[in-house]
C-alpha cells in the first residue's frame, strides 16, 4: 500500500507531466492513467483513504494554480470515483477565501465543486461578477445546477447579446441541462430561445425535434434582479404534446447506464 506522501507525489507528478505528455495509442495520458489507477481501488479501503488525504494536501498546496492545473485536477476529482463529498466543502471554503484568484481557474473550481454535489446560493454567484462576464457558460452551469433558472436565463440573454456566448456552446450543454432539469428543461430553453439569432433558434428547435421534444418560445425575458427560486416555467408546457411532457417528466437520471441500446431521450 502506498502512503499519503507517496500518493501526494504520484498526483503531483501526473499533473506536472500532463501538459507536455504525448498521448498513447488509445489516447492515454498521465492524468488519465492516474484516474484509472484510483478507479481500481476499493472505495472503502485504507488505500483510498490515503488517496483522499493526498488530494486534500495537493489542493492545499496548489490553491492558486492556473486554470489548466485546475481543469486536470478536476478530472481526477470527478472521474476517479474517489469519495468526493468532503472536497465540495473544501473547494467552497477555498473559493470563499479568495483562491484561486484567476477568474478562469475560479470558474472551473466552481464547476468542479458543483459537479461533486456542492450548491451555491444566488447572492454568492451574483458576487462573482468577473466569472459571469468572462466565463458565462461556467457561471450558467453552476446557476442551473443550483436551480437558479431565472438567473441563468438572464446571463444567457446578456451573454448572447454581448457576443460572449456562442450558440454552439449552448448546444453542447443541452443534454446535460436536460438530464439535470427534467420537466423544467423545455420551459427553460423556451425562456431564452427568442434571444438567439433566428438561424440558431431553428437549430435548437431541430435539436429538440430529433429527440421528440417541442418548445414554446417565451418572447419576454425576466430582467436581471428578478430572480425567482423554484419552477417558474410551468407555463412553458403549453403547446407541448402530452407524449413529450411524459418524456420530459420521466427524464432518466444522470446515472443512466451506457448499455449501447438505450435512447436516452425517448426512453
Amino acid at each position: 500500500m502506498s502512503t499519503i506522501e507517496e500518493w501526494t507525489n504520484t498526483i503531483k507528478r501526473a499533473l506536472e507531466n500532463e501538459p507536455k505528455a504525448v498521448p498513447g495509442r488509445a489516447g492515454e495520458t498521465p492524468v488519465g492513467d492516474l484516474i484509472t489507477q484510483i478507479q481500481s481501488l476499493d472505495p472503502g479501503s485504507d488505500e483510498m483513504e490515503a488517496v483522499q488525504r493526498a488530494l486534500e494536501r495537493v489542493i492545499g498546496q496548489n490553491a492558486n494554480s492556473d486554470a489548466e492545473w485546475w481543469i486536470n485536477f478536476s478530472n481526477i476529482l470527478c472521474l476517479s470515483g474517489v469519495p468526493s463529498r468532503d472536497f465540495g466543502l473544501a473547494l467552497d471554503r477555498m473559493l470563499s477565501a479568495g483562491s484561486p484568484a484567476e477568474p478562469k481557474a475560479r470558474a472551473h473550481v466552481y464547476v468542479t465543486a458543483t459537479d461533486i454535489g456542492r450548491r451555491f446560493p444566488l447572492p454568492r454567484l451574483a458576487a462573482e461578477t468577473q466569472i459571469r462576464a468572462q466565463f458565462p457558460l461556467q457561471w450558467i452551469d453552476v446557476a442551473v445546477a443550483g436551480d437558479q433558472l431565472s438567473a441563468a436565463t438572464d446571463c444567457i440573454t446578456e451573454a448572447v447579446r454581448s457576443g460572449t456566448l456562442r450558440t454552439s456552446d449552448l448546444f453542447l450543454r443541452l443534454p446535460g441541462w436536460f438530464q439535470r432539469l427534467g420537466n423544467q428543461f423545455t420551459p427553460f430553453v423556451g425562456s431564452w430561445l427568442a434571444t438567439l439569432p433566428s438561424g440558431s433558434q431553428g437549430g435548437v428547435v431541430e435539436w429538440l425535434r430529433r429527440r421528440g421534444l417541442k418548445v414554446s418560445v417565451r418572447t419576454t425575458v425576466q430582467p436581471m434582479g428578478g430572480y425567482r427560486v423554484g419552477h417558474p416555467y410551468e407555463a412553458g408546457f403549453v403547446g407541448i404534446p402530452a407524449e413529450s411532457r411524459t418524456f420530459i417528466r420521466q427524464a432518466k437520471p444522470r446515472n443512466a447506464s451506457l448499455n449501447g441500446s438505450a435512447n436516452l431521450l425517448t426512453g
Binding site: 504525448v22 495509442r25 488509445a26 492515454e28 495520458t29 451506457l258 438505450a262 436516452l264
Partner: protein, 233 residues
Amino acid sequence: MVDFAVFTATYAAQHAAIEGDPEISDVHRAEFRQHIEACRDASLLYDHAADFCHSRQLSGRAVALSTGERLGRAHKRLEFVRLIANSLGLSHRDVEDLLQDWLGLGPSDQLTEVHTNIGHLLMSAHIIWAFRNETSAAKPLTGVNIPDLPCALGLQYTATTMFLFWEFEPPSGVGPHMSTAFDAGMRYMPGWKPGGKTLPNAECRDRYTEGMPEVVLQPVHFSALTGHLRWTP
C-alpha cells in the same frame, strides 16, 4: 554521461524493438545512441529516451491506402471525455450526458451532431494510431468483433476500461505511415512489434494470430469521421 550499456540493460525490450525495426534507418539508430550517451543522469534516462522517440515520430515509410479506404480508431472513453471536457470548457458530467445523447441517436443524426459540435477538435494533438481492415476497407469497423478490438490491437486496459471506436477518412495531405518503435515510444515499445501489424495481447492471441494492420498519421480533426461511434461496455 550514461553508458549505452546501461540503457540496453535497463530497457532491454525497448532496445530490442529499436534494433529490430527495419523502418528505422541506421542514421536514426546512431543518433539515438548518441542521444542516450549524452544523458547526464541515469535516473532521467527513460524521459531522455522518450524525448528522442517523440522527435522522430512519423519517420516510417508512407503507406498507400486503396481508393475509398478508411481507417479505424480506438480511443479510451475516459480520455475522450477528458479531451472534450477540457477542450470545450464542459464539466465531465456535461460530456457524459452529451455522449449518452449522441449514442442514443440514429447513426446519421449522431454523425451530424459529432461533426457540428466537435468537428473542429483534433482527435489527438500528437500522432494518431489507426487500424486498417483488409476485408472491409471502406468501413473498417464492419465485420470486426468490437469487444475484441482492444485486445486484438494490443492496447492496455483493465477489466473496467471502456473504449470508443470510430471510422475516419484521412484528409488530403495527411498520409499514413508505417509505425516505428519511435512512434510507439518508451512506454509502448514492449507491446509493439515491427512490420505494420499490431501485437495482440496474450488473452486473445490464439484468435488473432496475425495482428491487425496499423498505421500512424498526423493529427486529424473529428470532422474526418465517416460513421457513428461504437463502444465497448
